[in-house]
Symmetry: C2
Subunit: 261 residues, 2 copies
């Protein structure tokens, strides 16, 4: 991929869920070689700091508050590339999972700017995992539905098309609309006792997880702080987290008793 | 996380879709510090080689051929940990996406063995992305359903629970059962013209992509070679790939004409 990072190239890089250690090796290298980095507000400062010789320009949105229109971001990428700079567009999670990376790729292709896409660890799968919740689990489920909670009306259409409990449901950008999510799921026949979780601030030091029945999801209290991002999970797999915790406590007790060889 | 890699700890690490550059920085560090690595057959040799001082033990399955029963893998992890070794369990993609990572975590918890989970880039999202197919795209879809194609009967139950074209459909481990997939989707009202793709060998040098209408998916011919893994995508987002290719060709022509400033 050496030529893909030549001067004038744009690398659209997924930063992963938060922790700078969860960016890929290739993403790290792109940042180290960059002349300019356009980054989303939710990307960890420590990840941006991996671009040691670059100018770092914040362009992203945070919690739906658009700080820069998408077409302006597209124009900035094209312009920087035409100035011969090595450009990184650093996006939270994976660039193509609700990241509008597709629009940026199309804008670059239209302008004839060479680009590469460097996938990232998506919060949709990693935030549950880091909270001890495997999105698939043998004997429980082998299907995962990932949706955006950004627009409650569209959410309703998406969920209406899926039978209750047919898959682990992961909702990104759904914290502020979670009351509508619960109402919609219950109305469509999901059991109010279905285990649910919110992984707040996944992979960051302040990470916390709420778990409870689906019917209580809307009343889950966010941790103190500045409205951290949260990933919602609904499905039987949430129970694995409690199993792991119980077993860990049991295992630790066994260890203390010296009953194991 | 320094203490999470202390002696006797097991790190369950996602290797990503193939290319050793697509493992995370934390995964790379776990490998560098490991005494022993138990790795799946599909993990790239270059990724295993990042464990420079470790004994590398293949344990995984390839294409459904089980080389070692899961409970034996679990016992190996526990035993190595109890010998005080730094252990890495290296799995393709993300450990919790059809990776049976949940079972390994439960076995370790039951045994009182300290562990950490290091997420990886899942092929479910990255294989389409590397083929130029964003799994979500503004104005096209904001939902993704990921299913395993391993068991055609269960696949049928999963797909029956989802309305036609309601989400981008991604099928892992579905190459050998893709005829059943197509039959099931058509029977359930999916349009045979829905764009479909197979990303073969994503992120590896031999990567190739087949695209065509859903009805032709079963007849897609695998590239020559030893049955490479393939990720199936069905949905309108597949069209973005062609758009990018067309625009890139157009942009390149403009560039050659010198008609752009």
């Amino acid at each position: 991929m050496a030529d893909a990072r030549r001067r004038g190239t744009v690398s659209i890089v997924g930063a992963g869920p938060g922790d700078p250690d969860l960016i890929t090796r290739r993403g790290e290298r792109c940042l180290a070689e960059a002349d300019v980095v356009f980054y989303d507000a939710l990307v960890h400062a420590g990840t941006v700091a991996l671009a040691t010789r670059a100018r770092a320009v914040p362009v992203g949105r945070r919690m739906g508050a658009e700080t820069m229109p998408q077409d302006r971001v597209n124009r900035l990428l094209v312009a920087a590339s035409r100035r011969g700079l090595r450009v990184v567009r650093l996006k939270g999670g994976d660039p193509f999972v609700f990241g509008r990376g597709g629009e940026e790729v199309l804008a670059l292709a239209r302008a004839g700017v060479p680009f590469e896409v460097v996938p990232g660890v998506s919060s949709a799968l990693a935030a549950p995992g880091l909270a001890g919740i495997p999105v698939t689990h043998r004997g429980v489920t082998d299907a995962v539905l990932i949706v955006s909670g950004h627009d409650p009306d569209r959410l309703e259409a998406r969920l209406g098309a899926t039978a209750p409990q047919a898959a682990t449901l992961v909702v990104l950008m759904g914290i502020s609309t979670r009351r509508a999510l619960v109402a919609c799921l219950l109305a469509r026949g999901w059991d109010g006792d279905t285990p649910a979780a919110i992984a707040w601030d996944a992979s960051r030091p302040a990470a916390t997880t709420w778990t409870g029945p689906l019917r209580d999801l809307a009343d889950a209290v966010p941790p103190p702080g500045q409205r951290p991002p949260g990933t919602i999970v609904v499905g039987e797999v949430v129970r694995v987290r409690a199993l792991v915790e119980t077993m860990t406590a049991h295992g630790a007790a066994e260890e203390a008793d010296g009953t194991r060889g």
